[in-house]
């Protein structure tokens, strides 16, 4: 065997999945949002379109809550079949020292509209991510990522790769803005495009070597 070089793609899910990327400094820090959550009565929605960072923010909220000593739990819904687990989590974690996070509430469909009033009346804190506002739920944060945020996230991901001594990649600001627009603000899909671009670039370099 010969010596091999490792090519780390900074846009792989491993480096972009919810909770991995550090939260970008904004007025809406996780700590500030926990304060706002209490002002809202302990329940709130994180709204936003696909790939806008709802799940990422939820993970950061959970980490901040755990840092306060709260008991935390996240339930990720995949389909209407998860109604039971969602109901169980809502009933079980009802203490004031708890923070329950439910990710992708919209997956429950019509069943979610039945469950929402029950969840809103429970004791303890609960944060739900969803695409659209829900009746009887206050909005904790409405996420609308912009191009500068996307550029900052890309820069952070690339710097992590640089620090590992692997290949650096460069993207012009207008190139990143075009990718952001093409995916209509869906950061996840934009990262996937950059993943593919990175793979094409590195393979062509391997071919030249």
């Amino acid at each position: 065997m010969t010596g091999r070089r490792l090519w780390i793609n900074p846009f792989a899910t491993r480096y972009t999945r919810p909770g991995v990327i550090a939260w970008q400094p904004t007025p809406d820090s996780p700590e500030a949002l926990l304060e706002r959550l209490d002002q809202l009565g302990g329940r709130g929605l994180i709204c936003g379109p696909h790939g806008s960072g709802k799940s990422t923010l939820l993970r950061h909220l959970m980490a901040a809550a755990a840092g306060r000593g709260w008991k935390t739990r996240v339930v990720t819904l995949r389909s209407r079949a998860d109604f039971g687990p969602a109901l169980g989590a809502i009933v079980a974690a009802a203490g004031h020292g708890h923070l329950l996070g439910i990710d992708s509430w919209e997956k429950l469909g019509a069943a979610g509209r039945l469950l929402a009033p029950l969840a809103a009346r429970r004791a303890g804190r609960i944060v739900v991510t969803t695409h659209q506002p829900q009746a009887c739920w206050p909005i904790l944060l409405n996420l609308q990522p912009d191009a500068p945020t996307f550029r900052r996230l890309v820069g952070r991901l690339l710097s992590q790769v640089d620090s590992r001594g692997t290949m650096a990649a460069e993207f012009a600001a207008d190139q990143l803005d075009a990718i952001f627009r093409r995916h209509r603000g869906n950061l996840r899909e934009a990262f996937f495009e950059l993943y593919d671009h990175f793979e094409r670039t590195t393979r062509s370099l391997i071919g030249e070597a």
Binding site: M1, T2, G3, R4, L6, N9, A12, T13, G165, I206
Partner: protein, 158 residues
């Protein structure tokens, strides 16, 4: 050797430990069934602040989709009140705490793979736990097998 270290819960202002891993194989390349002999050295940190060290050998997938992983070796060494290691099975390394080493026989699969959509990576992982409750993870990639790097097709197949 390539290192992937994550600060985890260690704050940005804290001094990060430095973990280096040495493989018996200079190229960090192994064939299925080979013995993986490795030693690791922990530096730039007060050993008395480390309460436990987890050592593991894992494979994981990396790419655009869901991730998968497997653990082929794992153990956890605890420091006693004097700041030395309390695991009797590994007492030979006590004087070097928290540095150490171990060896395992590698399985026959999955082989390391550098695909376009998915990659399979193997690594030695050293995780340090501190008395503050924080932790630090350092991963050191090696290769199992000799599968060539995948290349995209240059033209469509007619």
């Amino acid at each position: 050797m390539t290192e992937r270290a994550t600060a985890g819960e260690v704050s940005a202002s804290a001094t990060l430990p430095r973990v280096t891993v040495s493989f018996a194989s200079d190229q960090s390349e192994y064939a299925p069934g080979d013995m993986l002999e490795t030693s690791y050295r922990v530096a730039a940190i007060d050993p008395a602040t480390i309460t436990a060290v987890e050592r593991s050998v894992v494979w994981y997938t990396e790419g655009k989709g869901e991730e998968d992983f497997g653990v082929v070796f794992f153990d956890r060494l605890l420091a006693d009140s004097s700041g030395t290691m309390s695991d009797a099975r590994n007492s030979a390394a006590t004087a070097d705490w928290p540095s150490g080493g171990f060896g395992i026989r590698l399985p026959s699969s999955p082989l390391s793979y550098e695909g376009l959509i998915v990659k399979i990576r193997w690594c030695v992982r050293v995780r340090l736990f501190f008395s503050s409750g924080r932790d630090f993870v350092s991963e050191h990639v090696f290769f199992l097998g000799d599968i060539p790097i995948a290349r995209p097709l240059r033209r469509a197949v007619s």
